[in-house]
């Protein structure tokens, strides 16, 4: 029999664990946005070495599973003398991994802008810095919003992987809960509801931003 009681009781501890899910994916995307911007700038740079570096960065991080990246980082940091809590290692890894996707999202958005947009600005004598900040980036950022929200949703789901370095986020917490209650179905259904709730909110936010910033 399905135990409605267990199902509802699971929400308390799982919501508590969700703060790690949100922390890892929230800080992860924030870090990913910053590093992603730098990697994107490197990819578009006139300096060949920087373009090479960006290409390597992107292909390595997209080619190696996040789970392996997490384990690597977790065991690598102490070896090179950096002792940080598991949660920090997790956030850094998720952020670095996200930066590869985010830099490609931005590169794509910038590349999709018709060349006439910056030509019109150059033709009246605007400086490159103003062309970037006033013409290119505002449009590229808006264009990239749906893809960025999508990326954040993927991160929320991928954050379940950080349980391998011992972080008690929603998935790990539900495993523990299932083991103590012997009611895996109810517990995992509750976990699924929590992920769905978070991601539906994010999707709503994405639609709102798109609508607000669209011209």
């Amino acid at each position: 029999m399905f135990s409605t009681q267990t199902f509802f009781d699971s929400f308390g501890p799982l919501f508590w664990a969700a703060r790690y899910t949100l922390l890892v994916s929230g800080l992860g995307i924030a870090l990913g946005l910053v590093i992603g911007a730098l990697v994107c700038a490197a990819a578009l740079s006139r300096v060949r070495a920087l373009r090479r570096f960006a290409a390597l960065w992107v292909s390595f991080l997209r080619g190696v599973p996040l789970l392996v990246q997490l384990l690597l980082m977790y065991y690598l940091l102490p070896v090179i003398g950096i002792n940080v809590p598991a949660i920090a290692a997790a956030v850094i890894t998720v952020g670095i991994c996200a930066s590869a996707y985010i830099s490609e999202i931005w590169r794509g958005a910038i590349g999709a802008l018709p060349p006439g947009q910056s030509e019109a600005a150059a033709a009246i004598g605007m400086a490159p810095r103003d062309i970037w900040t006033r013409i290119v980036l505002p449009q590229a950022v808006v264009m990239s919003l749906p893809a960025l929200v999508n990326e954040l949703i993927l991160l929320v789901k991928a954050s379940s992987l950080v349980s391998v370095v011992g972080i008690l986020e929603v998935t790990r917490a539900s495993q523990a809960q299932a083991a103590t209650t012997f009611r895996p179905l109810e517990v995992y259904l509750a976990a699924a509801c929590i992920y769905l709730l978070i991601n539906l909110c994010l999707a709503g936010l994405g639609r709102y931003l798109e609508h607000r910033m669209a011209v």
Binding site: G116, A120, A121, A123, I124, G125, M126, A127, D130, V215
Partner: protein, 257 residues
């Protein structure tokens, strides 16, 4: 009256890889006059126009605006980006696809250059931008974004954006080719007014009526060569070169119904 520039183009060559898009072009665009560039598609009209403000880098020859070489300081020595920007300030350009900035209102599109390039304060820039928009008949559309304007209105905003900078030379690259036929007239009217004020204008166009009635001279290009430069009447009604008559015949056949 505006202060008008003169353009001197001498022995201009432009290559795209091995392909020569402009071959030894010689053309004088006199101050305060309208010069129309006509010719078949792919003949190099846009390339030539874009060499005048150095949006396209030419490989050999010279383009001088009021005696000042654009793009280079001397043979093979590129001009500094800063100096090039300085020169571009007084050259307006209008594109076939308008190239308005979609995230800004009509007013912001026009004010942007005044603020960033001319260094005007926001209020001053808005006043000047509004004046320019009034001049092209769009005083009631200033707060609209481009997406909420017709093609003809968008192109007029683009013209306002250029003239707000108080250019001494205006370049038009097929300004009406992307417009529905019923919207062509309003744009040509604005251009006529500008010509009447003594602006130097170089206009790539397929509007033979405009060339016939407004141009002071017409230049015909084919396959990267400037075939002839003459009065509109001489080019359009008594062409000396068979390439011109062929082009005009095709043009008339396409426009007959």
């Amino acid at each position: 009256m505006v202060q008008a520039s003169a353009v001197e183009i001498r022995n201009l060559d432009k290559f795209y890889g091995p392909f020569q898009a402009l071959k030894q072009i010689d053309l004088t665009i006199p101050p305060g006059k309208v010069t129309c560039l006509i010719g078949p598609s792919g003949s190099g009209k846009s390339t030539l126009l874009r060499c005048i403000n150095f949006l396209e880098e030419y490989d050999a020859g010279e383009v001088r605006i009021d005696d000042q070489l654009i793009g280079y300081d001397g043979p093979g020595r590129k001009m500094s980006a800063r100096k090039l920007r300085q020169m571009r300030r007084s050259i307006g350009m209008v594109f076939q696809q308008f190239n308005l900035w979609p995230h800004m209102t009509a007013l912001e599109n026009v004010a942007e250059g005044l603020i960033r390039v001319r260094g005007l304060g926001k209020a001053d820039a808005a006043t000047r931008a509004a004046e320019a928009l009034r001049k092209v008949g769009l005083e009631d559309k200033m707060q609209n974004h481009p997406a909420r304007l017709s093609g003809g209105q968008q192109q007029r905003v683009a013209i306002a954006r250029a003239i707000a900078m108080e250019p001494r030379l205006m370049l038009f690259d097929e300004p009406t080719s992307a417009l529905d036929p019923e919207l062509v007239g309003e744009v040509l009217q604005v251009m006529k007014t500008l010509a009447g004020e003594g602006m130097t204008m170089a206009v790539v166009t397929h509007e033979m009526g405009f060339a016939a009635h407004v141009a002071d001279q017409v230049a015909f290009m084919e396959a990267g060569e400037l075939v002839a430069v003459d009065s509109p009447d001489a080019i359009l009604h008594n062409p000396s070169d068979p390439r011109i008559s062929d082009f005009l015949r095709t043009y008339h056949e396409r426009n007959a119904f």
